[in-house]
């Protein structure tokens, strides 16, 4: 029973993988559907308001990805934070922390499998959702540029790697899983606020969250390079910080 197998069992036996795949796949299927049938949905819901009629332009293929991204950026990220926190906050139950810390002195041996397994599951879930959205968009609305989808997905996945690194660092300071989730969500909510100014926003990791939708709509990938570069550096910094905080922690 290695620490890698332990994490695999955590993912499968606690059904966390179902939560991840389920959420991303659900929104991957729902996004293009709502984009395609938005007018009909509004009509069924009572589209005429006080005599006003809502008319929507015909959907374009990018709308499928925009719907997918807008959903997973909120609910998907929340689920990702909860799942990641449950895995990387290994001191949240001190007796379990004692079990590991007194047997493994190099804390990167404890954290690496947790981070890698949960990140891999998260990226795979995102990819499954994106592929489902891409396929359904093609079927219901029309084809998307493959290059844009691939690069946009890669940039969005880089953002998710940053999210897990952030949660990992926070978990080494917070005392509980709930505390880790709350602080992480707060930071993730604050980032876009700091990025309201475009000059600042294009450098922040949160800029990558919408890259799949933006690139599908025709934006240039080069616009996301500054944020991607910053995200790589910040993620590495968060990983170093997580290890340092874990080493300093007393149980």
């Amino acid at each position: 029973m290695s620490l890698w197998r332990l994490e695999w069992l955590r993912l499968t036996r606690t059904k966390r993988w179902i939560a991840l795949v389920g959420v991303y796949l659900f929104f991957g299927l729902l996004g293009p559907f709502t984009a395609r049938y938005m007018a009909e949905i509004i009509s069924f819901a009572g589209g005429e308001l006080e005599g006003a009629t809502i008319e929507l332009p015909p959907p374009v293929p990018a709308d499928g990805m925009i719907q997918y991204v807008s959903s997973v950026t909120q609910i998907g990220t929340l689920v990702a934070v909860v799942v990641a926190a449950g895995s990387v906050a290994f001191d949240a139950i001190p007796e379990m922390g004692v079990f590991l810390r007194t047997r493994v002195r190099d804390l990167s041996r404890i954290l690496t499998p947790r981070v890698v397994v949960v990140t891999t599951a998260l990226l795979a879930s995102f990819l499954i959702g994106a592929l489902a959205a891409w396929y359904e968009t093609r079927v219901l609305i029309g084809p998307l540029d493959a290059g844009s989808v691939v690069i946009g997905s890669a940039l969005s996945m880089l953002y998710l790697v940053f999210v897990v690194a952030l949660v990992t660092a926070v978990a080494q300071r917070a005392r509980t899983v709930i505390g880790t989730v709350m602080v992480s969500i707060l930071i993730l909510l604050l980032l876009p606020i700091f990025g309201i100014s475009e000059a600042v926003g294009r450098w922040l990791p949160s800029h990558l969250a919408s890259s799949l939708a933006a690139l599908s709509a025709g934006e240039a990938a080069a616009d996301y390079l500054p944020a991607a570069a910053v995200t790589v550096v910040v993620t590495a910094g968060l990983w170093w910080l997580a290890l340092e905080l874990a080493r300093r922690r007393e149980l």
Partner: protein, 289 residues
């Protein structure tokens, strides 16, 4: 095996440990005794490397991988089976070939395939011991391993610890003095962060042995108390129950020669009398009073 000098730990303005000089010899089963809040868990945490001292030195003649730590309430991921928990410990510390043996020793062979989430408190404690034993540690640090168990679970864990004698050095903290007296050969008494005594258990008991007789007799006790308190060879006398007296004497020999005669002279209706056995509890109370 363990030597600390001037070991001190502060939590803000609270002094958890105050200049502790601990000496645990190789092969000893050392009982660290103290009331709740005495600093036992802090001391074990420092020795285990889970906390950093404010001041002082720690020297342990064992590699970190040769030290096993068992917390007072071991917890495991509830979806692991008992066997998987031991296999994980074995993977981290070595001893994969001993998994079956330690499960057997801990009495968990039949429950090894069950999820840990369904284990009782006693089974979790025994699983913790199994995880500690699987790596054949040279040093075991056990924090209150039997304090929260029912009598049967406590008996099982104490028997497991007793069987470690000779194969590992054991440092075992407890506030249950009877447990320490039963399994330990060396004792350290910790109170308010200070080590008040450490040494062989016998030395503590003999050193604290104030000769005392317990006398049961029919009430009223007052005339008997008054009579005995006037005897030169009696250093103290007190009622310890409605029909019981504790008579502290200068020597047991004095009591053997004079006590029965004195009781007769005081017209006491004696039911029984016997020299009081010295217990760790009494020695502890003498030291911490």
């Amino acid at each position: 095996m363990i030597e600390t000098r001037g070991l001190t730990k502060h939590y803000g303005s609270t002094v958890a440990l105050d200049g502790v000089d601990l000496d645990v010899s190789t092969g000893a089963v050392y009982g660290l005794v103290g009331p709740n809040g005495a600093g036992k868990t802090t001391l074990l945490g420092l020795l285990a490397g889970l906390r950093r001292p404010t001041a002082g030195d720690i020297h342990i003649e064992a590699e970190p991988t040769e030290i096993a730590v068992l917390s007072d309430t071991p917890r495991f991921d509830p979806w692991l089976t008992g066997r998987e928990a031991v296999e994980l410990a074995a993977h981290l510390t070595g001893g994969a070939e001993r998994v079956d043996a330690v499960l057997e020793e801990a009495g968990l062979t039949d429950a090894q395939e069950r999820a840990v989430g369904g284990y009782s408190r006693g089974m979790l404690q025994r699983l913790g011991v199994a995880c500690a034993l699987v790596g054949s540690p040279r040093l075991m640090l056990l924090d209150e391993p039997a304090s929260a168990l029912d009598p049967l679970g406590r008996r099982e864990v104490l028997d497991l610890i007793a069987r470690l004698r000779g194969s590992s050095t054991v440092l075992f903290s407890s506030h249950i003095l009877a447990d320490v007296q039963e399994v330990c050969d060396t004792v350290g008494i910790l109170d308010e962060g200070k080590l008040l005594f450490q040494g062989p258990l016998d030395e503590l008991l003999v050193g604290s042995a104030v000769p005392r007789y317990v006398v049961r007799c029919r009430p009223p006790l007052e005339p008997i108390l008054a009579f005995l308190s006037r005897q030169e060879w009696v250093t103290a006398v007190e009622a310890i129950g409605p029909d019981e007296l504790a008579v502290t004497v200068e020597s047991l020999e004095d009591a053997e020669v004079h006590l029965i005669g004195a009781l007769a002279e005081a017209e006491a209706r004696v039911i029984s009398l016997h020299p009081e056995g010295v217990t760790l509890e009494r020695a502890f109370l003498e030291l911490t009073r």
